[in-house]
């Protein structure tokens, strides 16, 4: 099941109808759930979902900084420094 989006409805029956209109008009769905937003409990903490048991934090491959550095350069307006050879 994947998150499709949200609907606004006074009750569950109408919510299902609206969901079919919005998210299955072209037969994209084979199964629909609607749930009241206040009944959703979420967990997004990577420490719990993807604990680093692979020990990647001990290896160079565990630190890919390219995107973060690009974001930092965009923020600072500074140039990328020359690569340091001989390391």
């Amino acid at each position: 099941m994947r998150h499709g989006g949200s609907v606004m409805a006074p009750d569950a029956t109408l919510a299902l109808h609206y969901a079919r209109e919005m998210y299955s008009r072209r037969q994209e769905s084979v199964h629909l759930w609607v749930v009241r937003r206040s009944d959703i409990h979420d967990l997004a903490d990577l420490d719990l979902l993807q604990p680093p048991l692979d020990r990647s934090f001990k290896k160079p491959g565990g630190y890919v900084m390219r995107d973060k550095l690009a974001a930092a350069r965009e923020q600072s307006g500074e140039a990328k420094p020359k690569a340091n050879k001989g390391r």
């Binding site: 020990r55 934090f57 974001a71 307006g77 500074e78 420094p81």
Partner: protein
């Protein structure tokens, strides 16, 4: 990156004993001359070679200070293991501390072979008779300090340590190769912490800038005052190859652009590269501060030494049990 497990070939024992300074039939002065010729021509020295006392003591002091620094250097970082912001950072920091203590053990091992027992080295450290690097005498005020230390303090250290991979004392050179490989991951961890905070909230960015403002002075003092290459005995014996100024210039040249890349300001108005000479000008570091700190009068010197003293006392029963003679006790 070089294979960290690859060891340079060591001359087999027969060839080693054929080196002229290893000839017991020669008198001391002759052996000294042969030894000096060998080393100044780039020859390596093993733990089992004959060596003049001057060389042996110079290497011992150098490696002992390095070992002390690795052992004391974990204490500032250790302060933040229980306060790391995520599990991943906590594990990375714990692994780093573990690595550093391992480095201390490797280095005390190298130094022991030069004639000073490990217990004596630790006792001299605790008694304030030997030193450790200035940077480890300062407090940590926030998580930002951990990023700055793991990135820039380790970077300043690695600039020195990479040059030591070619030291004339081969056991030390081999150990430095292993240490440099491990340190390179520590530096990535530090840089990742800094870049994450710099691209985070305004509070995180300010926190990093404030930490940099405090650590820049000690960083600039870390490699030590300028010295005369011609008078430096450690350079004469090729124990080390670069002067403190060469190391400082190298550190500045590589890391200032990387610090500026993040939009951080370095608290040194005089810091500027002369494009004609390739030399960086900078505010003269406070050498009085360095002297005060490395003689164990820094803000955290005694507190951290006290921690080590307490630990040394508390673990005495373990050393006595393992190093003592259990058969004698039973009899």
């Amino acid at each position: 990156m070089t294979d960290p497990l690859a060891l340079d070939p060591v001359l087999p024992a027969r060839e080693r004993s054929a080196l002229p300074f290893n000839d017991d039939a020669l008198d001391h002065d002759e052996r000294y001359r042969h030894f000096e010729d060998h080393v100044t021509a780039g020859g390596k020295v093993e733990a089992t070679d004959w060596m003049p006392d001057e060389y042996r003591i110079a290497v011992l002091r150098f490696v002992e200070m390095h070992a002390n620094s690795e052992l004391m250097g974990v204490l500032p970082e250790r302060e933040w293991i229980m306060r790391a912001p995520t599990l991943r950072r906590k594990l990375a920091l714990t692994a780093k501390v573990q690595d550093e203590v391992g480095h201390a053990q490797l280095l005390y091992r190298v130094a022991e072979d030069l004639g000073k027992p490990r217990e004596a080295m630790i006792q001299d450290l605790l008694d304030g008779k030997t030193k450790f690097h200035n940077v480890f005498h300062y407090p940590t005020k926030s998580w930002a300090d951990i990023g700055i230390i793991a990135w820039l303090v380790d970077a300043a250290a690695i600039v020195a340590q990479q040059a030591l991979r070619d030291s004339s004392y081969a056991p030390y050179a081999r150990t430095m190769k292993k240490i440099c490989w491990e340190e390179s991951v520590h530096i990535m961890h530090g840089r990742d912490v800094v870049v994450t905070m710099v691209t985070g909230t305004a509070t995180q960015r300010a926190s990093i800038q404030e930490a940099l403002d405090r650590w820049w002075g000690p960083l600039m003092q870390m490699h030590g005052p300028r010295s005369d290459r011609a008078k430096d005995r450690d350079i004469h014996w090729k124990i080390k190859a670069k002067t403190s100024e060469e190391l400082r210039q190298e550190f500045i040249g590589i890391y200032v652009p990387r610090i500026r890349e993040l939009g951080l300001t370095i608290p040194d108005a005089a810091l500027a590269l002369d494009p004609a000479t390739g030399v960086w000008a900078y505010d003269e570091p406070d050498w009085n501060e360095l002297r005060t700190v490395v003689t164990n009068h820094g803000p955290k010197s005694q507190e951290r030494l006290d921690f080590r003293r307490a630990n040394w006392d508390a673990t005495r029963w373990v050393r006595d049990a393992i190093l003592g003679n259990p058969r004698a006790a039973v009899a």
